[in-house]
Symmetry: C2
Subunit: 86 residues, 2 copies
Amino acid sequence: MIYTVQVKVMPLKDLLDPQGKAVMGGLKNLGITNVADVRIGKHIDLQVEAATKEEAVAIAEEATKKLLANAVMEYFEIEVKERLTS
Amino acid sequence: MIYTVQVKVMPLKDLLDPQGKAVMGGLKNLGITNVADVRIGKHIDLQVEAATKEEAVAIAEEATKKLLANAVMEYFEIEVKERLTS
């Protein structure tokens, strides 16, 4: 069975996010002033082959901890979105 | 009222995603072989000041079309996640 697992990797809330600050400056220059804060991270879609949903999440978590996220600077959230046909 | 709006910006499905391909190679080198495909995009959290949820979405959509996403190469999804206190 193939599961679509979505991983969201964001900069830790206590850290500065220079990319987000740059985007906020850009929005102000475009005349969009209602945005109070911007934070930018990564969104990763994984197609995981696994027998169960739990196994798919475990594989995605291993992949995220080993490669996709840097725990010193980022936190992550994992969500299984849908089940595709086998 | 401040709304937290989440914007997901992903490479179009028909286009190659070199970053995703590189991560897939990295996962194989780490011994994680159950991942069939990886696609990587951006996740953006906006704090939007608006009177209604619909207005918040409209502002986020304008910001995304003007600055955050490149419609030639990317598609986006907008989701209002929660309502914070004013």
